[in-house]
Amino acid sequence: MAELTYRDAVARGIAQEMARDPDVIFFGEDVAKPGGVFKATVGLYEQFGPKRVRDTPISEQAIMGAAMGAAMTGLKPIAEIMFSDFFAVCFDYIANEFPKSRYMSNGQLKCPLVVRTGNGAGSRFGAQHSQSVENWCMMIPGLKVVAPSNPRDVIGLMAAAVRDPDPVIFFEHKSLYPVKGEVPDGEIVDTLGTAAIVRPGKDASILALALMVPRALEAAERLKAEHGIDCEVIDVRSLVPLDTQTILGSIARTHRVFTVEENPRLCGWGAEIVSIIADEAFYDLDGPPVRITTPHIPLPAADVLEDAVLPTVQRITETVRRSLQS
């Protein structure tokens, strides 16, 4: 066991896989010599050298395309897109190329790669550097999508992503980089497609992802302490594959569900999961499924404004309380 930051867990996760498999290479903008703008990949260049860890031009399409071509022909690339907002400048690869080539070729082509990216708000960077865009990927058939909430999951899911034979989009939350957590020694390998019940409870299920997980947990503690409401908190972890068994199982016990999303309101992962629940677990529900999201607006830069729009512990607590007590 060691205490590790989420940031350091990224480098450790990548290093674990690069040490294991010489076909794993890693590239992106300022990731090698500089160690990444978030310092999440410090040391990899020194450890694995300039052939395996490479700085690229500002050419997100080339980065993604090169990752795909390398993956198709035998490597296991990890490519960084610095901020997930920049998926918009290389979205063709995410939406049209990675996820469709296997299908269109009737299984002749493969695309085993990992795109890792800094996602989410909290750094006062404004509307073009703060978005949560997991739904941009979840909506595309053929991708896999994960978003860890803690250092241990960063390493384990990174290993699972690198070893997975399909394209995996790996969302790191920028506001979690400095956060520490306990991490076991030795190799860690997790499983894609598994949600985690991080707090059992019986009155309602709160589903959260990434930065929203600690907030949901804190809200659950408050709800218990202040209102006697006992919430189950689920860290969704993997949007595709989606662990509907764990989610539906929880609803079957608690009969109420709340999703806590950082995305803007429309068409987020919360909408998808709520729709699944509303369809498949309709008769389990004792009350409306409620989505707690960022409002449907671009993100403001100023600290006071940004803090006011993301779901807060306060807002989660209040929403659940009001909904359960109404």
């Binding site: 090169a66 795909m68 071509g69 390398a70 490597l75 070729s105 058939p141 896999k144 034979p165 594959p241």
Partner: protein, 341 residues
Amino acid sequence: MAKKPSRPSALAANDDIGEELRLRMYRMQVEIRAAEQRAFDLFLQNLVKGTSHLSLGQEAVAVGFAAAMRPGDLSFCTYRGHAHTLARGVPVEKVLGELMQRDNGLMRGKGGSMHLTSAEHGVMGSYAIIGAHLPIACGAALRAQYKGQDDVSVCFFGDGTTNIGAFHEALNFAAVWKLPVVFVCENNLYMEYTPIGDVTAVEHPAADRAAAYGLDRIVIDGNDADSVYRTARAAYERARAGKGPALIECLTYRHSGHSRADPAKYRPEGELERWKERDPIKIYRERLQQFGIAEQVILKIEEETARMVDAATEACKAAPPPSFDLLSTDVYADGGFAWRN
């Protein structure tokens, strides 16, 4: 029209290509022509579904570049990729079957005419979003470089494609990392229905931009399979030797419309006719004669090819449509499409 060669033996003696290869290149051009003309006939009979983009008139580019490849070299094509796919040795039946959306097609109907792929022949996909495959070809070349393998990745695209961002990113990327990738621009004068000069700031959309990536300016006659072949061979050699990428602009012309829907009325009068005089197959047939190849050898190739394409057509007509099971296979590597447990 064909002139008797004046000094066949002297010509042949100095020949860096040789009779066998030249006959192969002729056969392949004839095969592509016949297969695509057949595809066109099948449209008219409503047996080819969806869209389709023919390379009639551009066969020499596909054949010259493919002929200079070794097994293991990789082709990255566009929606106008039938010619390049056939040129790597993929059977006509497989290609026509895909165009006819039958179960015997190359991808059993799942991809369609714009996405021809035959990994076993080194055809690593045909891409229908303009420019997308240039960076992908870089990635394949990066793998070769990284693993110390000496295959070359060859990426084909049109004149219009030089104006999209991915072109620029890929060229710079390949040049900076000295990747063994050869970019081939087939300048057929049109971006769909618009003359390329109307939308491009330079006369030669690829060659006039080579210097922007530190590359040599190369423009060649794309209708002469021999000069295509020689240019290809030199570029592959450089790439294999670690000297980095090349960008080659081939001047050529498509005889048909952009796609099946296009009657190509935008051509200036006489343009098509002038280019038909420089039809690559006509040029190459004359070349064979200049090299003293007997007329009956040429005729035999033409007849064999015609029969083969007929047989392929019949096989496709007899083939069943793809079965519904295919719908949900191969979304993911486990063979299925499950996005949930």
